[in-house]
């Protein structure tokens, strides 16, 4: 009798926890939709701010949408170019438990835990050192630094659990480590896509990294050395306005951010399924 009660108690507890998680998500979506949907006009997504935009006059946040997309895609691509070789090195090239692999894993764990404002401050210092202004380039580099440990950790998790025998199969056919790497990448496609998603979500939503490095401007950048607006900062600046109209635009910007992330997630899930049909 006591054990049955215990079972029911814990079952109830778990259901409550699960519901509260979904509840929070629904509340967030509800808040940004109810406050932002009214301001989510065609103008908002297709125009850059006009004079007096920040006191409620016409225009949109296309500058921030484009800026965020540039930085996010740039950072994810650069991040992958650096983190894929790192992951291959520690999983294929290095001997098991070599000190370099262990150190790399430890380093990426520590970097993963650093708050993004630290990356922002670091990027800012580097920028000053090289005499750079706030720019698309500086913002992208800083966000790249932020996403590298995310990519390394997330991909390392999936590469580590690939059975050793798959690699051994390639080696025993006379394959090189590079050929083994290519097979492992194939096997890990879903995990790599999940890593890209994580990094994309983190990069597009991070305000602290771009605050000092990318700056903010009302125009769309046309070269790497120009400053650029980003969605998180568009939310931040507009939400701190006393004018309700402008505040609602901040929620519209949040809604746009959420929609971009959702669209990317679903597309990635779709391709992940298609690309992994041969997976073991």
């Amino acid at each position: 009798m006591k054990r049955k009660l215990e079972e029911q108690f814990f079952k109830l507890l778990m259901i409550l926890c699960t519901l509260s998680i979904s509840g929070v998500l629904i509340m967030i979506l509800w808040t940004i939709t109810s406050k932002g949907a009214g301001s989510l006009t065609w103008d908002i997504v297709s125009k850059i701010p006009e004079g007096g935009f920040y006191i409620g006059k016409g225009g949109g946040i296309l500058n921030a949408i484009i800026g965020s997309i540039y930085i996010t895609i740039g950072a994810t691509v650069f991040g992958l170019l650096i983190s894929i070789p790192v992951v291959l090195y520690i999983n294929v090239y290095a001997k098991k438990n070599s000190w370099l692999a262990t150190t790399t894993r430890l380093t990426s764990d520590i970097l993963f835990g650093l708050p993004s404002i630290v990356y922002g401050a670091f990027g800012f210092t580097i920028m000053i050192y090289f005499g750079l202004k706030t720019s698309l380039l500086a913002g992208t580099i800083t966000v790249t630094l932020l996403v590298i440990p995310i990519l390394v950790r997330a991909m390392d998790e999936v590469f580590r659990v690939v059975p050793e025998d798959i690699g051994n199969a390639v080696y025993s056919l006379g394959g090189t480590r590079w050929e083994t790497s290519k097979i492992l990448i194939r096997q890990c496609v879903p995990g790599i896509i999940t890593a890209i998603l994580l990094s994309f979500g983190r990069a597009i939503g991070d305000a602290a990294c771009v605050l000092f490095t990318a700056g903010y401007t009302d125009s769309i950048p046309t070269s790497l050395d120009q400053p650029t607006a980003t969605l998180p900062l568009a939310i931040f600046f507009q939400l701190s306005s006393p004018i309700e109209e402008v505040q609602n635009r901040a929620y519209a910007a949040a809604l746009i951010l959420t929609i971009i992330v959702l669209v990317i997630s679903f597309t990635a899930k779709y391709f992940s399924k298609k690309l992994s049909k041969n997976k073991i």
Partner: protein
């Protein structure tokens, strides 16, 4: 010992893993184009010995290997030996089949492709030839583009054998290759081994005495990292000289 021409010669091989002495002073000549089985209780070092032959063992850290393993007179552990060309000489069949994450056709064609074969017609020929060689062709010829994972586990093991044979090795190493298979699939694989020994040298690790008896010409009994007895199947299984071998064959130790 045997009078056969050796294909693999092991001389004074010692292996330490994480400071443990796993293989102790192993010296043995594996005869050419015969089936040689390693038997012995779990943890005796038989798989480790097999893995020293294709140098998969030293991929792990904390492994110390001394001594010589000669294949066709070339020392595998000499510093100027090229590892990939050695591995190409030896097909490996592992405990469970691990097809590559690609379709059936590409699995067999993979080895030929990485060794430079690009011609589509040649690859078609190779794939058909080796799939027929492992009696899998008729079962899969209409679905060569299906993922290899859709095959049953017994079919997968035969696919892995075909994949290994397609790089034209001289030696086939089997690490308990039937331990995950059902009796019918096991029988398939064993029949293939008997067919293959005309062309290849086979080295098997097995813990099934009946299997060792069915397929092997020679048997090596290993215990606690040492070779206790090496001889023809009849000698070792029916007339063991050593007491340990006798006990193992009778099932007193396992």
């Amino acid at each position: 010992m045997t009078t056969e021409k050796p294909h693999i010669s092991v001389k004074n091989l010692n292996v330490h893993i994480d400071g443990n002495h796993i293989l102790k002073n192993i010296s043995i000549d594996i005869p050419d184009k015969k089936v040689t089985s390693f038997i012995g209780p779990s943890g005796c070092g038989k798989t480790t010995l097999l893995k020293t032959f294709n140098r998969l063992l030293d991929r792990n850290g904390n492994v110390e290997i001394t001594g010589q393993v000669l294949v066709d007179g070339v020392d595998l552990y000499s510093p100027d030996t090229e590892v990939t060309s050695i591995r190409k000489k030896m097909g490996l069949l592992s405990q469970r089949p691990f097809p590559l994450p690609m379709n059936i056709y590409d699995n067999v064609a993979y080895g030929a492709r990485i060794h430079g074969q690009r011609d589509k017609k040649e690859l078609d020929k190779i794939v058909e030839h080796y799939l027929r060689g492992v009696s899998l062709w008729d079962e899969v010829k209409d679905r060569l583009k299906d993922p290899a994972t859709r095959l049953s586990i017994g079919q997968q093991q035969r696919l892995c054998l075909a994949r290994g044979l397609a790089v034209e090795p001289e030696i086939i190493l089997g690490d308990e290759p039937t331990s995950a298979l059902d009796p019918i699939s096991t029988q398939h694989i064993e029949e293939l081994f008997l067919k293959l020994k005309d062309k290849y040298t086979l080295v098997l690790v097995t813990h099934i005495l009946r299997q060792a008896r069915r397929v092997s010409d020679y048997i090596v009994f290993i215990y606690m990292g040492e070779i206790i007895e090496f001889g023809t199947t009849e000698e070792v299984l029916l007339n063991p000289k050593e007491k340990l071998t006798k006990d193992y064959v009778k099932g007193y130790i396992s």
